[in-house]
Symmetry: C2
Subunit: 317 residues, 2 copies
């Protein structure tokens, strides 16, 4: 089936998908590692329409822009329309369940979910790497930087390594079962600000420590060596700077470790904190710990206990 036939066959058709939250960086893998989650996720319906335009409906109360030029899913789909020589367009309905600004890849879920859904209607005309390129335009709109450490795991599923952005080089990293506990303290940390406070120059000796840990984490994941994963979940560069923006960060981390977590840190640029555990009982104990720390602060927060999503964006059951 060529693309004209695919468009013709799918016009008027729609698909509903769920697009997962993601944890970028994974402690020591700043800008190169990310992991998809089974919970939370956004729900999106995408319909192929005749006109080369994007029509956006919000099915939630976040009040995100419906002008496609100002919407992360919108800009990704506009790019797809251009790649299709304006032969089609999309009407989308977005029900966001991943809170914008949570640091759990909310913008990536919107832009990646939209293009993956559209591509399914188009009989998988585009490659996953093409979809990453389109979805990164959403990240650029959201944070000013084209980065793929949420987009790639959202589309590929599992743990992904973004070895390089230019040229794009995404590699799936096999992982043993991992339970993820997340807490989202509802304070505002803008991705742009979280980037601004990072030092442009770092010490070579700190960088060496960091890349030892990255190599250790990747090896630990591929060998299913939980102890090595745990030892490698250390960030000597970014966390010491960014964690200042997150109330009770140090306490959440140390008490989660006491509760048995393998390790964890800031999810993306925050404010959410994620901790990894080997089993569900530990992940639930970590959640309780997080609740006990945040409840007295009066800061609104919510928690999730979930697992690694190995499929990425997928059709709703």
């Amino acid at each position: 089936m060529n693309i004209d036939e695919a468009i013709e066959a799918a016009t008027g058709q729609s698909i509903t998908i769920q697009s997962p939250g993601t944890v970028a960086n994974m402690v020591c893998g700043f800008d190169i590692l990310g992991m998809a989650l089974n919970d939370p996720f956004d729900i999106m319906t995408v319909k192929l329409i005749g006109e080369p335009t994007v029509i956006i409906h919000n099915a939630d109360d976040f009040g995100l822009p419906t002008d496609p030029q100002q919407n992360v899913a919108g800009v990704a789909l506009l790019d797809m329309i251009e790649r299709l020589d304006n032969k089609t367009g999309f009407e989308i309905t977005i029900e966001k369940r991943i809170m914008p600004g949570s640091g759990i890849g909310s913008s990536a879920a919107s832009s990646a979910g939209a293009v993956v859904a559209a591509n399914r209607l188009l009989n998988h005309f585009f490659s996953n790497d093409d979809l990453v390129q389109m979805a990164m335009l959403g990240e650029k709109l959201a944070s000013g930087v084209k980065h793929a450490d949420n987009i790639a795991p959202c589309i590929y599923g599992g743990v992904t390594l973004i070895r390089s952005i230019l040229p794009l080089d995404i590699i799936s990293i096999p992982s043993p079962p991992l339970f993820v506990t997340l807490v989202h303290p509802q304070i505002e940390v803008r991705t742009e600000d979280a980037r601004q406070i990072l030092r442009k120059q770092i010490l070579l000796k700190d960088a060496i420590k960091q890349w030892g840990n990255i190599a250790g984490l990747v090896t630990g994941l591929m060998k299913s060596d939980y102890d090595l994963i745990s030892r490698s979940l250390e960030d000597v560069l970014i966390e010491p700077v960014r964690s200042i923006l997150i109330p009770a960060f140090a306490e959440v981390k140390s008490k989660s470790m006491e509760a048995g977590a393998l390790g964890g840190g800031i999810s993306g640029s925050g404010p959410s904190i994620f901790m990894l555990s080997k089993d569900e009982a530990t992940a639930l104990a970590v959640e309780k710990t997080m609740q006990e720390i945040y409840t007295p602060t009066g800061i609104p927060f919510h928690t999730h206990v979930t697992t690694v999503n190995t499929k990425g964006v997928k059709p709703m059951n």
Copy 2:
């Protein structure tokens, strides 16, 4: 068998081992990765003697110090004697085949070979990590810095990750078959000098590129993905600075790639250059290329074509 019995049983006994050359750094893994080679190697005979001292004989023409305090194998064995409460000592004969100053782990082969051989006589009383600690004293004597990126692969064999020195954390990285072509242009590059010229501060964006490549290389090795190994063999930080010290470096590298090599770079701190290939025919073509480049320069040089040594230090057949 306790240590006293082991010493008693082995006193007067000797063992002859071969201790392999090693390639530290492996392009993008500065200070954290190393690989053992099947060729070249040193030959050492270690004998357990009654007195708590180290007696050194040289069976080569390099004229290395025989005062144990000034000899890399000597300081490693003196440390072992101290750990054994001065209950024994060693007489060693060293035939160096790895040229000192070649950048192929000559000092590591001496210090690691000595302690591994001694430990075999002692019925494996010490752990591999203990042996690494002792042998690193030799590296400190040779270059002023306790580093393990030659010592670890020399003792463990194969490709090793040194995630951390303090605490010591060494991890074996599985690797597919790799052919290694080495050229040693006989100019002097002191490890100390090669360290001095490195910048203490680096750009975060360069560090991100580097750790993307390190994660890519480790993943490529573990997945036996030669293309990924090849794409990841890139060093944006150290090679641009250090390669200035090595004549014809850029030409050797580019022409080796044209001859089909997967990639390569400076071996340790140089001056040797190593290139990896998927098969022997390519590795031999790379060797020919290296010879064609260095012959007209008049610089004395020699080449090796070899494979990854998966055993590390081993008894002579």
